[in-house]
């Protein structure tokens, strides 16, 4: 079998034009940045800012229009935080959890709904910011920082006690857990969104128009679910750090 020939055949397929793993690099000082991620994330931030500023510019007691919608959104993210962190302590965490949800949700949907691929970059291609590992790892690390901060603020150094509870042999597993939490958070989001984009991209290239459409609807659904899962898990971790060990929780 002529492998080099096969390789050239395969790389000659339109699949290669998806440009997965290629980035539009910006060189700022001696920092290397992924330009396409920042471009789309600024778009997402702009959408969020326009929506929120327009909704809260003239706050009415009886909400109408955009204020009504954004109040529903706020109630929804407050619900996520309240359900996972608890009635007593959820309030300070609403902005963090809510922004996580909103940013990821708008990112995912912008990746699915905005025809980014029509804008050509010198290298790489535009897409959802959450389809880039840097974004999802950044969010996951921020979540880890958030729950460490929550635990330390609530219980000081006593927070470390949960590593050896209920028995000290749990220590290595609990340490590993602190690494797997951000890893799973970031890879779940990254993998799902990238997979969505790839599936839709491949279908668009191979069988345009009718086959990709159901996949795009499915993509909208799964990307919304991913935003919900990320925000919910972040709240769960923060809630766990605040609550401490399970036997404390059972006393309530």
């Amino acid at each position: 079998m002529d492998i080099p020939y096969a390789l050239t055949q395969l790389t000659g397929l339109p699949l290669a034009s998806l440009e997965v793993g290629k980035h539009f690099y910006w060189q700022v000082g001696n920092l290397k940045l992924h330009g396409e991620v920042f471009l789309t994330s600024w778009f997402v931030i702009a959408v969020l800012l326009v929506l929120t500023v327009a909704a809260t510019r003239n706050v009415q007691r009886v909400p109408t229009g955009l204020q009504n919608l954004m109040e529903y959104v706020l109630e929804f993210v407050r619900g996520i935080a309240r359900d996972q962190i608890g009635e007593k302590e959820y309030r300070p965490w609403v902005p963090f959890v809510g922004t996580l949800f909103l940013f990821i949700f708008v990112s995912n949907w912008s990746g699915a709904l905005v025809p980014w691929k029509l804008i050509h970059l010198p290298a790489g291609e535009l897409g959802a910011p959450t389809a880039n590992i840097n974004t999802t790892v950044a969010f996951a690390l921020l979540t880890s920082l958030a729950y460490f901060y929550a635990g330390f603020k609530k219980r000081g150094l006593g927070y470390f006690a949960h590593y050896v509870e209920p028995i000290p042999i749990m220590l290595p597993f609990k340490v590993i857990e602190d690494f797997t939490k951000p890893l799973s958070l970031s890879f779940r989001l990254f993998g799902n969104i990238l997979a969505d984009e790839l599936v839709v991209g491949v279908f668009v290239l191979l069988v345009p128009l009718f086959v990709p459409l159901p996949m795009m609807f499915l993509g909208l659904f799964t990307s919304a679910i991913q935003a919900l899962i990320f925000a919910t898990l972040a709240s769960v971790y923060i809630g766990e750090a605040l609550e401490g060990e399970h036997h404390e929780g059972e006393e309530h």
């Binding site: 700022v28 920092l31 940045l33 909400p63 109040e71 609403v94 809510g98 840097n134 790892v137």
Partner: protein
């Protein structure tokens, strides 16, 4: 399978050579994190705080209004109860007044009737007495006339015989 493995390996090698790839972590990561934290701060000011204040203010407003309405309802119920009681009292008093008035009227009627009956009795008795007196007088007159007439009859009868 081997082909795919080779392909992926070739792509990975190419990516590493170019400095790209799916798992290319660089300064994008911390800058995204910083950007996100700034976004949290901005959204906190433009979205979370004002709308939370609006929602909670509305909830307070509704709670306060509802409480006031409940208080008013309780007050209204109390007033209605009070009025009903007053109405019942007034009715009872009115009943008493009516009963008293009826009793008084009955008493007055009875006394007036008794008076009238007495007066009528007196008048009847007086009339009877007068009738009696007149009867006596008539009888006396009649007796005297009977006497005169009997004397005259006697005189006539005896006188004629005496004359013969």
């Amino acid at each position: 399978m081997t082909l795919w493995t080779l392909l992926i390996a070739a792509e990975a090698a190419e990516a590493t050579a170019e400095g790209g790839g799916l798992f290319d972590l660089d300064a994008t990561l911390p800058l995204m994190a910083i950007q996100f934290v700034i976004l949290v701060a901005i959204l906190n000011v433009t979205f979370f705080k004002p709308l939370t204040a609006a929602i909670e203010g509305r909830a307070d407003y509704i709670r306060k209004n509802r409480q006031e309405a409940e208080e008013r309802l309780a007050k209204a119920k109390q007033l209605a109860h009070q009025y009903e009681q007053e109405l019942a009292d007034t009715r009872r008093q009115a009943q008493t007044v009516i009963l008293t008035a009826e009793a008084e009227a009955q008493k007055l009627m009875a006394s007036k009737l008794a008076e009238a009956q007495q007066e009528a009795q007196q008048q009847r008795e007086q009339a009877q007495r007068e009738i009696e007196a007149q009867k006596q007088a008539a009888l006396q007159t009649l007796e005297s006339q009977v006497d005169v007439l009997s004397q005259q009859i006697l005189d006539k009868l005896l006188g004629s015989s005496a004359a013969r």
